[in-house]
Point group: C2
Chain length 364, copies 2
């Protein structure tokens, strides 16, 4: 039976399932209209329940960041997964082979011959084949190759036993923190153009390039500029957060996840303390000088947090009442989800579900 | 049977139990020689197994940051706990009363009449009494009162039914980030002197002040300057981390916890990527421009992390080999522990235990 949020003790995280459904529907509908597949990145929510909503919206493949997440999603029945991470080493080969023996049909992105050999081992052990994307660095400078090595690795994968060259992948993570729409658009066009250029080179060498996969929620709001990409891998879009809001793609009303906290201390006239610190909000950010956006009081901010405390400052003359409850839209929802045992599913501000974060990480 | 660390797939967190035992023994022996009690803050490790080592070293009371932690520690048999947090509201009163009915003998630090009323409710519901510390702000400007309100709250607690005024508490968190020993010493002397001054005022008003509780690992390495404090609440000392190392109290050899990671990508000559990001290391810091200290290569650093990637830069001409394993001392070990399902206990680099982080937080 639905019940009121007030019954729950703070701090806790709520997820508005109505907003989640709207976010999923809009993203997948727009992608379809632009001829793009959506491979939602499940690292954001880490929950099979929400993955199912993305699957139901038409995504026949999901993205994960590591084998831990793949294990949880496979257990829940999602057997078509893009592991968007360069798996490396014998332990990973054994784990991947084990998942393949249990039915996983993996696509893996890699950027080295060493990772290619890891995948070849997994393929040989499981006697199944693996689809492989070559990761390309289009300016974020994390993983990914540039120049001739892209072609060389693609050729090697194409020639390797047990592996199918499926295409190319990029992640334009350097959009993060940008707020100028024309600059964001330019980064996305450049990301897409680089993938297109590499793809043309590969095709000249008679290599198959079915998939050109690009990442990120902000990028996914600029679908109209994508000329070469065949699929998008948004993660945060299911909830949104202040990082996405600051990029200008959505407003706060589209943010589905909030941390609920109580004013537990008013030690001085100019300061209040909430019972949610870095172990609820994470230290990602701050954005606009605040570790999150306080929905009920947009002119309050959180300039400082410690593990279980958020220090709130405000412009009101009165300020917070001790005992008052507020809700906070996080700066980076992915790390917030990873901090929770579970989150509280709500509809119309009524509690309707308790959702365990089954793929929550850390030395498993 | 002990086995080699190499058998474990990365990323994972190891805890050297030999270093842990040494850290505990030294801190507790020195405190005893200075006539100080130690109430170890268990928010750092969140594990009854390690709390037992602190209890065995002579701590008859432990510190927790919230009721979630108190529940786990009580379940493991630790019934004398300082809840160093201003509990606030009816839900907390009910939860505290429930724990008291199960045997908890709590001390709670508060800084408002509202929190006092919460404790009075818990005491009335459980028909047991609660020891109470008044939290004083000595310069960190988080929770804690200053000036006359300290005396007023102490008097109110003394007069309240079900509550015993036990003393005063402070947390000189503004030491954090300081590296100049004379400045650190000055902050600690000032913290101690302020507590002493408030205590004198309370005693003039015939109020009992048995406990003067001060916090923090760096502070606890300056015991010799404490003239008024009766107890210390160090947390990080059990492991140590780069935050404590940067404060000058210990060196890296005394750091017991490390994140193990593998070089999974060498996309360019000047860059490598490790398979441990903010979901293993947290985003706390960075210190000296790095999200952690790489033990095997002190001249490498981690200027950038994302959720599952750490970007490594280095001065070596060759740099990391793909597949190489390294271990990282974290900047802030408390948030790292809170990210783990469990950690791996080692002795002499052999695995001897798997330690679940039972009091790991987040919407429980």
């Amino acid at each position: 039976m639905p019940y009121d949020l007030d019954r729950l003790d703070t701090p806790f995280v709520s997820v508005d399932l109505g907003i989640v459904e709207q976010n999923i529907a809009q993203m997948h509908q727009r992608a379809t209209s632009h001829g793009l597949k959506v491979r939602p990145h499940t690292k954001t929510h880490k929950q099979p329940f929400l993955a199912q909503l993305q699957y139901d919206a038409g995504s026949q493949s999901l993205t994960v960041a590591k084998l831990d997440e793949a294990e949880i999603m496979l257990e829940a029945g999602f057997d078509n997964l893009l592991i968007a991470y360069p798996l490396m080493g014998d332990a990973k080969a054994h784990r991947l082979a084990n998942l393949m023996a249990r039915g996983l049909k993996p696509t893996v992105s890699i950027d080295s011959l060493a990772s290619m050999r890891t995948l070849m081992k997994a393929a040989a052990m499981s006697d199944r084949s693996i689809d492989v994307l070559v990761e390309v660095d289009t300016g974020f400078h994390r993983c990914g190759l540039t120049g001739t090595p892209v072609l060389e690795l693609a050729q090697a994968i194409h020639d390797a036993s047990g592996l199918n060259l499926a295409g190319l992948m990029s992640f334009a993570g350097h959009i993060s923190g940008k707020t100028d729409p024309s600059l964001i658009r330019q980064i996305i066009q450049d990301d897409d153009a680089q993938l297109g250029s590499y793809a043309a080179t590969l095709r000249q060498h008679h290599l198959p390039v079915d998939t050109l996969s690009v990442g990120g929620t902000t990028l996914s709001h600029y679908m109209q500029v994508l000329e070469h990409a065949t699929e998008i891998r948004p993660g945060i879009y299911i909830f949104n957060d202040m990082g996405i809001v600051s990029g200008g793609s959505v407003d706060v009303s589209r943010c589905a996840a909030r941390i609920w906290a109580t004013v537990v201390s008013r030690p001085s006239p100019d300061r209040a303390v909430l019972d949610a610190g870095s172990k609820m909000l994470s230290t990602d950010g701050p954005l606009a000088g605040s570790y999150g956006f306080i929905v009920e009081h947009p002119n309050w901010s959180i300039p400082r947090i410690s593990e279980e405390h958020a220090v709130v400052v405000f412009e009101d003359s009165d300020g917070p009442d001790i005992g008052e409850r507020v809700s906070i839209v996080p700066n980076h929802v992915c790390t917030v989800m990873n901090l929770q045992q579970r989150v509280i599913g709500i509809r119309n501000n009524q509690v309707v579900a308790s959702l365990p974060i089954l793929a929550r990480g850390g030395t498993r």
